[in-house]
């Protein structure tokens, strides 16, 4: 297993001018990213929808790379979006998934069948042309340039240590420094689109 922050630091070296939706990695990404105006740290508007949001964004901005750090809990909830992604085949979409095997923000309860799901196999079965799975940081770091060099959609499952939170929600560190609306506006200005 790797630590999410370490993995994101590796990714950041290859980020380029991609729009990044950090998902549940956002709590670490805000301190790593150097291009905040291309980040969409939306937190969790509603579980299960990040893949679909990223698909929509990728379709809207086909000339801009869109990178999502999804999570296995969200993918389990909205798994059918893998079919839609595969059908639409956005070449600019890079779908990473942080698999900590649990619902970390509610105290670490395991997701269904937590240790026995091959999400890369599911993605390939859904029609993604490429899919990978990594347990170790070194292997991921070595493969990442090749993953990003080829067109998407590509799915990459990453086993990560959970960042379990047991404090009441009102007592947790507030890592989102911008509202969701502001983050979207900042991104739109950066890529020069009006909505």
């Amino acid at each position: 297993m790797m630590y999410t922050a370490d993995m994101l630091k590796v990714f950041n070296e290859h980020r380029g001018d991609a729009i990044v939706i950090p998902g549940r990695g956002g709590i670490f990404w805000v301190d790593i990213s150097t291009r905040a105006n291309l980040d969409l740290p939306l937190g969790d508007p509603a579980m299960g929808g990040h893949g679909a949001f990223a698909l929509g964004l990728a379709l809207a901005l086909p000339k801009r790379r869109v990178v999502l750090f999804d999570s296995e809990g969200d993918v389990q909830m909205g798994m059918s979006i893998l079919l839609s992604v595969a059908e639409q085949r956005p070449a600019n979409f890079y779908h990473f998934m942080l698999d900590n095997e649990c619902y970390a923000t509610t105290g670490g309860q395991p997701v269904p069948n937590a240790k026995n799901v091959a999400y890369d196999v599911i993605a390939r079965g859904a029609g993604y042309p490429r899919a990978f799975a990594f347990d170790e940081l070194e292997a991921f770091a070595s493969a990442l340039p090749g993953i990003l060099a080829e067109p998407g959609p590509v799915f990459t499952a990453l086993k990560v240590h959970p960042n379990i939170q047991n404090q009441p929600i009102g007592q947790r560190r507030r890592w989102m420094t911008r509202t969701r609306d502001q983050a979207i506006l900042d991104m739109q200005r950066e890529v020069r689109i009006s909505a």
Partner: protein, 173 residues
């Protein structure tokens, strides 16, 4: 088709024209019994990009992403799926201030007559519970309500619903 019946119906061509007038770019959809008649026309329309989803809540988050990227999506689903989408409507559409129109097939509509389909029984209370403005469109005469819905969505930066209350027309072509 019987001309006497035509005037009481909602033509898919009229709906498609309304979408084109609003410069809709993407239709995020899942088939239903009311809107199949529109599908064939949309598929053939070069200005529209259809994005199929397998669960209606994902139409909401997909539309949110499209809107964030500067496009003009419309969501095309059935009232059953509207209700399934509740948390996605809350978080992705209302939460992200997405000015999107949801064209929702109103399965079971009896014009507030004796309604036996619970899908229709719960649709309007569901919309009222979420504070979503909605317009019922039953025939071509109501089609201008679609434009009203789009304008209201833009003005309020909130989702607005068009309930499509005409069933099966377009199958008999």
């Amino acid at each position: 088709m019987n001309d006497a019946v035509t005037t009481a119906q909602l033509s898919p061509e009229v709906v498609l024209n309304e979408l084109k007038k609003q410069k809709v770019t993407h239709v995020v959809w899942l088939p239903d019994s009311e809107t199949n008649w529109l599908y064939l026309l949309m598929k053939a329309e070069p200005s529209l990009h259809l994005v199929a989803v397998a669960r209606e809540g994902l139409a909401c988050s997909t539309a949110a992403g499209l809107a964030a990227g500067g496009k003009t999506p419309v969501i095309l689903i059935q009232n059953t799926g509207l209700m399934e989408s509740g948390d996605s409507i809350r978080g992705w559409l209302i939460g992200l201030s997405v000015p999107v129109v949801l064209m929702v097939g109103l399965r079971g509509w009896t014009r507030h007559g004796v309604t036996q389909d619970t899908a229709a029984v719960y649709t309007e209370p569901f919309l009222n519970a979420f504070g979503l403005k909605y317009y019922i469109v039953e025939s071509d005469a109501d089609a201008n309500r679609i434009e009203v819905a789009f304008e209201e969505a833009k003005k309020t930066k909130r989702p607005v619903v068009v309930l499509v209350a005409d069933e099966f027309h377009g199958f008999n072509r």
